[in-house]
Amino acid sequence: MKGNPVNLLVKLTRPERQRAGNPARKSYVHWFWLLPALVFIIVFLVYPVVDTFRLSFMNSDSTAYVGVDNYVHAFTNKTTQDALLNNVLWLLLFTLLAVGLGVLLAVLTGRVRYESTAKAFIFVPMAISFVAAAVIWRFVYSFRPEGFEQIGLLNAAGTNLGLPPVAWLVEQKIAYTGQLLPVPLHTNNFALVAVGVWMWTGFAMVILSAGLKGIPTEVIEAARVDGASEWQVFWRVILPILSPTIAVVATTLIIQALKTFDIVWVMTAGNYGTDVVATQMYKEMFNFRDFGLAGALAVILLLAILPIIMVNIRRFRVQESER
């Protein structure tokens, strides 16, 4: 029987057998179960993080230490600054839109009988790869100069309304107005964020919908009897009760926004002012072969995400203690 040699090994390595679920006696059997996972994690996740950290303090081919030069460079260099600002834009816009739409759709679909079909339609983009999504949206954003027939959905609709065609993926000025702002509120950034929203709103919607269903109907009815209009029921009862769920969704989305790579890489390769920290890092690593700078960028990314996780963990502990 398959278990026997393993059991033997396990018996040999510690004095008493600890049974799962029984009060702990000094034993090491859990290590057997944990070890494979821990090995993978240490080798592929922990060690690299530590090592990247180390590399970030070294020069481009990792032969000498350069202190915090890479970090200084990262924060003073215009390209990196722009990338950071783009990440901030992603963070705010992507999260707000996905959460907002998610809440709206969760509420709307919850009131119709064909709820699951409608939800499925909106959730589908999560199943496809970013690359496929990039191809799909390349079509939507397709641009032909003025006077030519538009083959992209957006520009076709736009020209039908009398508006000039816009090169959505390239344009840095605000669409249709021709303004260029000092901050990277570029049209093409919005175009990319839209793709992200298209993919992740389904995720937000599904989780928020489950949260919504967890609110007892009688509480909503009590609010109605108490005198609340539908609008007041939403803002003063539903949303507050939903806020822990919203926090969970928002956290996940913020982390996604900070880690964004695929959408930007496939659609614009970070050009035309759409670069984000992740794509920049990739370029430093593979094109410019500057491992020091690439490492610094990666560390910056991690440091940006860390506070969010701390908040999450703290909230998790509070919730567990309340249970």
């Binding site: 994690i41 996740l45 990739y282 560390v299």
Partner: protein, 296 residues
């Protein structure tokens, strides 16, 4: 003072009320239907384009394809499968994804069992640490892991990428499975131990069979994640003959302009499997992400 008129025929007032209800709720229905359709439109556009000849794709929008003369063709799929090596890529995707799903789930379930049912010092701290690793951007691990794989000569090999995907998938898998294992009935396990079962037996004969829904969810998640991945494949699996579909499409995209029609077919083929999986197993997919995300 309004009075509801007494109806001669029972049920007819019910019909009137139903009609009134429909009218007042039609904004809702319109909103939902329009949004759902709009959401599918981009993907739908792609599907239509994939059946159009290259000249059409390059010059007119896909919506015009529904006017006569109809010019649908299967050429794109044919070309993509035979010439652009898509069939090979599909196979590669399978070769990467299947072990890349099975191994992490196996390893994670072992660890999750320990976290859920064994008491040892530092258990909760270690668990939180593992879950915290969810935030590590993969980019942070690329350089060191690449070097490591190079040192043991696994760059550009399938086993190399299997190991990588296993590690990357572990935090989420352990999180999901541990939460599920933890709420299995304690009495069931205790009576098994009283009967003399070993940990191994309990694991394979009790825990796993009882956890099928969670494992199903996780399988779908992990499979889709690996299937749709681009970055990890780009970095660790540099051999072009081993490229999965995401990489192949990425290459096609970079070769701007001329290959659009191939691109549409290629993208759609890569989407086919996930879409089928998704629609068939929607419930597990959805259940998977809501477990643990929504606190009661």
């Amino acid at each position: 003072m309004k009075r509801v008129e007494a109806q001669a025929t029972p049920g007819s007032s019910g019909f009137r009320i139903a009609l009134k209800k429909l009218a007042s709720r039609s904004p809702l229905h319109i909103a939902v239907v329009v949004i759902a359709l709009l959401w599918m439109t981009p993907a739908f556009g792609l599907l239509v384009s994939s059946f159009r000849p290259p000249t059409e794709v390059a010059s007119t929008g896909w919506w015009t394809a529904f006017q006569t003369p109809f010019q649908f063709t299967l050429d794109n799929y044919d070309a993509v499968l035979s010439q652009a090596g898509m069939a090979r890529s599909f196979l590669n995707s399978l070769i990467v994804s299947i072990p890349g799903t099975v191994i992490p789930i196996l390893v994670a379930s072992f660890a999750a069992f320990a976290f859920a049912w064994m008491k040892f010092r530092g258990r909760d701290v270690l668990f939180m640490f593992v879950v915290a690793l969810l935030v590590v951007p993969i980019q942070m691990t690329l350089i060191p892991v690449l070097r490591l794989l190079a040192d043991i000569r696994l760059v550009g090999t399938f086993p190399g990428i299997w190991l990588a995907h296993t590690a990357y998938g572990l935090p989420f898998a352990i999180f999901l499975l541990r939460n599920f294992f933890a709420v299995l009935p304690k009495e069931l396990l205790e009576s098994a131990y009283l009967d003399g079962a070993s940990n191994m037996r309990v694991f394979f004969r009790l825990i796993l069979p009882l956890s099928v829904p969670a494992i199903a969810s996780l399988t779908i998640f992990q499979f889709l994640w690996v299937w749709n991945d681009l970055l990890v494949a780009l970095v660790y699996l540099q051999d072009p003959s081993k490229a999965p579909m995401t990489v192949t499409i990425n290459n096609l995209v970079s070769s701007f302009g001329t290959q659009w029609q191939l691109l549409t077919a290629a993208a759609f083929i890569s989407m086919a499997l996930p879409l089928v999986l998704f629609f068939a197993l929607q419930r597990y997919f959805v259940e998977g992400i809501t477990t643990g995300a929504v606190k009661g």
